[in-house]
Symmetry: C2
């Protein structure tokens, strides 16, 4: 028997949605969650794909997540839209806020979407890509749980605090990046621990604050940011902008709120959108061509743009479907029983 | 004879302004330039202090900089203010745009200041700090010249592309960082070359794209970004947001525009401002306290906040004055002769 199962995108989406619905989430949440995990799976980001169905269902069953939360929109200022997710998952809150953010960015030139009180498990690139698809540049920030020490420190304060950015490109996939400001993902350290393998230097320190390559010691200590004091400074910016600025929890507060349950982190998210048409007016196309010249200068020397691998996978899976481990398929099927 | 000269802040500012005026810049430019170099000197950022007087005067004499440029303000959208610096220095353009940016951020919740066609030589922290002093969070980005290779590449495409951020703190200096997305400043490599010392690994590659610790080979090759592909992605974001988005040059274009003269880079700059009062309303103070708890968690474990050293210097020089090399003092005095 093959160790993998291949499903068409439609089959995979139907399976995911059915599994979400068994957890008791509303149809609107099941739709939004399915679109999010399918975006990850279609791009072969397996850690953000169908694998997440299991974690989402578990998070609901643990009782922390509001399965039928109805996001509430408010507009405290002309360039700000807030969506209170009411302790539901973030994808429906983003989907609810998106048209408001687009309208405000086009009206004001730039705008912010602040999502509050959401459980967050997804990558940020689906969100910034949704804005790029509307012709907008976008920047998204969110905290997580306080596993990461500040530069010069020994104890976790910051989350893995991802930063995602998208720039719309004429007739092509957007320019997109999405990375953690931690040196590595927490899950990668966990995988090394299970495999009994040392982690690379620079990922973590032990409980005494000493550099370590021992995964178990790292998990008991603290992770490090990428890029030394610069990554640490960026991580602090993510905390401030996607925490206090929008009236939501820092990674320290979010971890305390979880109280050891291990659910998806609950916190806020900040998404900024910029309309090149409002910045540039009639000269937009000429200046967008400057961006294309920049990309040409990168690609022309044999370097890659971020996300190229994802986009290649997306083109492939559109016709070939997605392939997942048979065990994962069985685990999701078991939710339906 | 002492190798240094100590001047009160007033004496130093008078000296700087007199030197700027000898180059033929307008009084308004001389005022703004003086405030900028004095901010650097007072914080003992010597490379952005009085030392820059010499470079600015040279840039004017080389004929690239418009010494009497009058910045022109336009407002293409409710949350965007543009200042066309008309090929003058950036500080007067920023000073001209600042009240408009503050007004728009307070009115819309967030706003952007796009400065175009400016010669830029200063750090970005004076600008984000000026916004923090008005109670706003701020983010500033600018390209430079194409000395820095993208991750996986071998040739310069990006500038040193700094990112600066400020968060206002009640009754204290703001939280501020300002760093290049290159692994090191170009001037640091130059200093190593002059001293005949090897540069650290990770700073640069040679003309064949191989890692090098030879400063001369590095200057003939390309610099690297900090933090590998993540720093490279951020550097691309700086290019896009402070170049094409605001209708100005990328670092490649700016270097071509300079045509080997070696003047201050001419390009654009993007500054974003966010009003916590508009994001948070009546709950502002409670959420600002969350930010203070974050800083306490960093400082409480013996780690530092960015810019602490600068702020300590600022407190010291306010009464003790600034101390500069006697040769620099003589070089500036010579401009007045």
């Amino acid at each position: 028997m093959s160790e993998t199962v291949t499903l068409s995108l439609d089959e995979a989406a139907r399976l995911a949605k059915a599994a979400f619905l068994t957890s008791g989430v509303s149809d609107a949440h099941a739709e939004a969650l399915t679109a999010t995990v399918m975006a990850g799976q279609a791009d072969e980001c397996h850690s953000h794909g169908l694998y997440r169905v299991l974690g989402c269902v578990r998070s609901v069953r643990e009782g922390k997540v509001n399965p039928v939360a109805e996001p509430r929109v408010s507009t405290p200022a002309p360039a700000i839209v807030k969506v209170d997710a009411d302790y539901g998952f973030s994808p429906l809150a983003f989907r609810t806020g998106l048209p408001h953010l687009v309208e405000k960015a086009r009206g004001q030139g730039l705008a912010a979407l602040a999502i509050n009180h959401c459980f967050h498990f997804s990558a940020l690139w689906p969100e910034v890509e949704a804005l790029a698809a509307q012709g907008l540049a976008a920047l998204a920030l969110t905290p997580s749980h306080a596993w990461v020490a500040p530069a010069g420190g020994t104890k976790g304060v910051f989350g893995t605090n991802p930063i995602a950015f998208a720039w719309p490109r004429p007739g092509d996939f957007p320019f997109v990046f999405d990375f953690a400001t931690s040196a590595a993902a927490r899950g990668e350290i966990e995988l090394h621990r299970r495999a009994g393998k040392p982690i690379p230097e620079g990922w973590a320190i032990d409980a005494e604050g000493q550099p370590t390559t021992d995964a178990t010691a790292a998990l008991a200590g603290a992770m490090l940011t990428f890029g030394g004091h610069k990554g640490s400074a960026l991580s602090a910016m993510v905390e401030l902008m996607a925490g206090p600025l929008i009236g939501d929890m820092t990674s320290l507060e979010s971890m305390a709120f979880d109280a050891g349950v291990g659910a998806a982190p609950c916190h806020g998210e900040l998404i900024l959108a910029f309309d090149p048409a409002r910045f540039l007016g009639a000269e937009k196309d000429a200046h967008v061509a400057r961006a294309e010249a920049l990309f040409d200068a990168i690609l022309g020397q044999g370097a890659r743009l971020p996300s190229q691998r994802r986009f290649a996978a997306r083109q492939r899976t559109a016709t070939a479907g997605v392939t997942i481990p048979r065990q994962l398929y069985a685990d999701i099927q078991a939710l339906l029983a």
